[in-house]
Symmetry: C2
Subunit: 339 residues, 2 copies
Amino acid sequence: MATLKDISNKTGFSVTTVSRALNGYDDVNEETRQLIREAAKQLNYSPNLLAQNLVKKNSKTIGVIVSDLKKESVKDNFMFETLCGVSDFLASSDYEFVLLSTTTVKQKNKTYTQICSERQLAGTIIQGLKTDDPYLKEAQNCEIPSVLIDIPIHGKAIKYVTSNQYESVKTAIRYLKRLNHHHIAYMNGTENAYVSQIRKQGYLEAVNELNLEVNPHYIVSGDFTEEGAKKAVLPLLLNTPEVTAIFCASDVMALGVIQVARELGIKIPEQLSIIGFDNILLSEYITPSLTTIAQFPYIMGKEATRLLIDLIEGKKDLQSCIEIQNELIIRQSTTILQK
Amino acid sequence: MATLKDISNKTGFSVTTVSRALNGYDDVNEETRQLIREAAKQLNYSPNLLAQNLVKKNSKTIGVIVSDLKKESVKDNFMFETLCGVSDFLASSDYEFVLLSTTTVKQKNKTYTQICSERQLAGTIIQGLKTDDPYLKEAQNCEIPSVLIDIPIHGKAIKYVTSNQYESVKTAIRYLKRLNHHHIAYMNGTENAYVSQIRKQGYLEAVNELNLEVNPHYIVSGDFTEEGAKKAVLPLLLNTPEVTAIFCASDVMALGVIQVARELGIKIPEQLSIIGFDNILLSEYITPSLTTIAQFPYIMGKEATRLLIDLIEGKKDLQSCIEIQNELIIRQSTTILQK
DNA sequence: CTGTTAGCGCCTTCAC
DNA sequence: GTGAAGGCGCTAACAG
């Protein structure tokens, strides 16, 4: 592949001049510039980013760090949609991104700082890490700009994007109360995920505020998986038959709940109302279609990227957090409770 | 971040020795090596990949080039699953990948070769490009190893992975014939996508072979979208009522067909049998559940990566193509035709 | 306006 | 065994 040197040889100008001409410095004769541009085109020249970044020490590459690029995450498109948002936003900039999945054994041996400095990353977007992931602490104490998704941490160069989950859950519970439900269970996701914690708080707060029954048995954990949900909901349905509504911290878990309820002959929504969280594609198509809280991961990805680039470019007075508004979507899995 | 020089300063050995010690050369005193390793750990050293690749001219980075990482591709998880396969396979190697989403706009500015040489890519995996995409021609005449997904081209350093689509479609049509269907329509995807072409051939061949009616009006194009399918199927259903089965080149289009049929009061599967292609997640959950040809993009991604790395590492006698076997999954959207 | 010099962090001869 | 020298492709001073 052609290098500056090749162009230099061809045109007779020095490598330096060629470099400056191509990079638009204005201390270059316009005629010279044209000559050089022409030669560059003929040689199909393209700068070697590695060399460029090596010397400039800043790489126009941002790392998207995700916890688990696994086949299993297919059902829940959250990550993919976020990625699309990132990609779309980046398309109109001169940045590019590398997708780094931290499950790889190799990367477990690497610290966050190492990952960043290896590639001279300009910044990172982090998504799906548990609140106790060591990478987070590192990122927090690190100079490298970073935007977290759904992880509320800020540090020197860290900001985050999330959605109004707390309020959304409260809204959903209020809605259930309106439908005459007074015994509302809550199925939580993985304990050490921030989203689980905040959603649970929303539930507790709402239940308290509305004077609904507070019962520790009403709170179970489905680990954000369909299987986990099935296991967790079975005893719930059997042991606390007064429960007439279940709020699930994810749609995928709601799918599991629906299945078990069906197996037990419980009618949805007549005998049991169910609300999910995420608005995954399936939620609209299953029978009964699922009432849920819609998130907008595409927008979150986009906004995270916008924020990150502002951070990288040193823009001042950036808000330390962006909150995207969720939306309660009412479908068939919830209904008014007949006394 | 720590560099070789830092370690050199700390230990007193020259940069050269440090480099060799860390890279496992055996002309280094074991004691020295230990000392250096120790120092490296203390300084949290990690090699600068940019510098490393710059000098070694090979980058252990493979580029995954996709056509358009768009929000719309969410329904059809093909790309995401492929990506998961790539990522999973790479996890056990020392390669990493960059996801490059090309748009026609971007292509104007950068040629394929440029993209590759900019980052010194060791190889590429290409997916979702149309058969007339200029990048393909370039890739074909290029020395850089590349594996295409569902694009049957081979060149000096190019191989591809696909599935037995042709045979799968024939099988599906034979299945419909078994169910007494004699007027089978075919809804194609985007014309200039290879998968459309080959699937259509399979259809034509099967229809011919089985002595079914060949009618140009039976072949419509839904452009691989739900909306496109709706538009295309309406006249089909209205004008050729003798059609009792439709084979769709994608599940997403089948969704559209089902909707329109429903709106016209056509009962599925009693009056109209429908087969899709892809086995997207939804196909199992909708009502009626969709008979379809399952593809295994995860495996395709994995195999493509395996092949690419073999190519990069110069393994000999590689097959020029890997074919993954699809699977006909029978669900509720097809049934035997009662005379 | 243009060229010379130096160096980014690393690796590979080639001496000693 | 170890170190010095040179260079990967590029850019940033500094001269002229």
